[in-house]
Amino acid sequence: MDATPSNIDLQRSNYDVDAIRADFPILASEINGYPLAFLDSGASAQKPECVLRCMDDVYRRSYANVHRGAYTLSQAATDYYEGARKTVARYINARSDDEIVFTHNVTAAINLVAHSYGRRFLQRGDEVIISQMEHHANIVPWQLLRDEIGIELKVAPIDEAGNLLLDQLAEMFGYKTKLVSLTHVSNVLGTIVPIKKVIDLAHERDVPVLIDGAQGIVHTRVDVQDLDAEFYAFTGHKLYGPSGIGVLYGKKDLLNTMPPYEGGGDMIERVTFEKTTYRDAPARFEAGTPPIVEAAGLAAAIDYVDGIGVENISAHEQELLAYATERLNEVDGITIYGEAQHKAGIISFTLDKVHPHDIGTIIDSRGVSVRAGHHCAQPLMDWLGIAATTRASFGMYNNKNDVDALVEGLNYVKEIFS
């Protein structure tokens, strides 16, 4: 067998999901006597041993506040923190470490842009284009801005399958369009949005673009220079990293034209009561003590993902998605939502006459963790004409047994509700 490392197909057949599973301590759990089938990585992924070790280690050996101390431990902690910035920059191919702002989640990153970029560059009547399938994190910040300064929200439509309607999107641009803010991957439908095309469309019209990469970065390789988006935001806990950290990538020149978001220590150049001046990005946007150890953990997670290769992970997830789609379609009364041309490992469905919450509770008793609800995407739910779905989402560690457990769980649900 040829082991050329660049051959992804061959690699995929080499993808050792058992070895990967062994790296995630929580996967050995039993729930109610059943092996855990964790199918909610879209809400938050589990963490590999190396991430946990790394964070524990920082606290045990290298912890102090960053940036401020002229002593060894503070330097060590700063090395972790700034090293994490380098890791992120390298991973998404940013031009400079200064383009990486750490926040506490992706929600904060989008709010930062809405607040700081929005209030500097947008005015009453200006338009921001989002899509029908946004997460609340990419809706509500713009609504708060709307309430404040009177911008307009334009919603790009999708088709039945969940594809973004590019032609219609193209026609929405007008002279008042000042920003496009779009999800990379729908957390409900799984749609992988052709963001490169949207970015090109927008740039032809000189409109900057923010990409909500919360789901996107988990399933695809992101190269911010190739994409050329002005902003790309994501969250650590979905990328196998810890809770409490998010990332805003922004083009450096743009970041440096933006006013501060929060005020406090570390983001200032000079403070007097009369006048305060601010440092350049990223410091300008990182007021106060940052998520030091979380950054170290995120860097460890990225190294882990990169070691396996996001393309390989994604290929593995595609296999699972195909298998799950096939097996779920065998279940009587099921409706799957989201059949876009390009889909990530996320599958939403409903089951006739059974509410997703009941499904969630019942299959949990068989060890299967799925999410049931509106997935923070109520406008999409309204558009679909439903209140909620059950969603299974795959991580690098899922296998066919997990899918089988899901299907068996659904059969148990049907037995109860028969």
Partner: protein, 154 residues
């Protein structure tokens, strides 16, 4: 927990869930309130007809939700009809405590009959995430008689 699940999804709950009683708008209601569960997006409206003596003459509801919340709302409308506001508030308090596990059993009192009905819902206490489903309709009823038009379980 298999047993717990079976206890939660008893026949009578499944039956009420599938065929909720008093599932309609009440034309001559004089108290009504909307209940939201912001975590799942489920919502329901409770309609009550309360007379001068604070006696609930009729009760109904509309909305969407899981089997637990539908069944709970359905049973609730049956139970509150014919009771005074203070009686149903008393029952609500006890029911709430039963669902959260704050009390183990209903007190033995005049409401023995209703209590039997409510007791079937108490399996929910094994499922803390679902307590809100079981109590949403009661919270909403309580809001309606208290004159609040919106409520949500938090």
């Amino acid at each position: 927990m298999d047993d717990d699940v079976r206890e939660l999804y008893q026949e009578v709950i499944l039956d009420h869930g599938k065929n909720p009683r008093n599932f309609r708008q009440l034309e001559d209601a004089n108290c009504e309130a909307q209940g939201n569960n912001p975590l799942c997006g489920d919502r329901l409206t409770v309609y009550l007809k309360v007379d001068e003596d604070r006696l609930i003459r009729d009760a109904a509801f509309e909305g969407r939700g899981c089997a637990i919340s539908m069944a709970s709302a359905s049973m609730m409308t049956q139970i509150v009809s014919g009771k005074t506001v203070s009686q149903v508030q008393y029952l609500f308090d006890k029911f709430h405590k039963l669902c959260t596990g704050e009390i183990e059993e209903f007190p033995q009192d005049e409401f023995a009959h209703d209590v039997d009905k409510l007791r079937v819902m108490s399996g929910v206490r094994q499922f803390p995430m679902r307590v809100k489903c079981a109590t949403l309709s009661w919270h909403t009823m309580n809001a309606a008689v208290s004159g609040d038009s919106e409520t949500s379980t938090e």
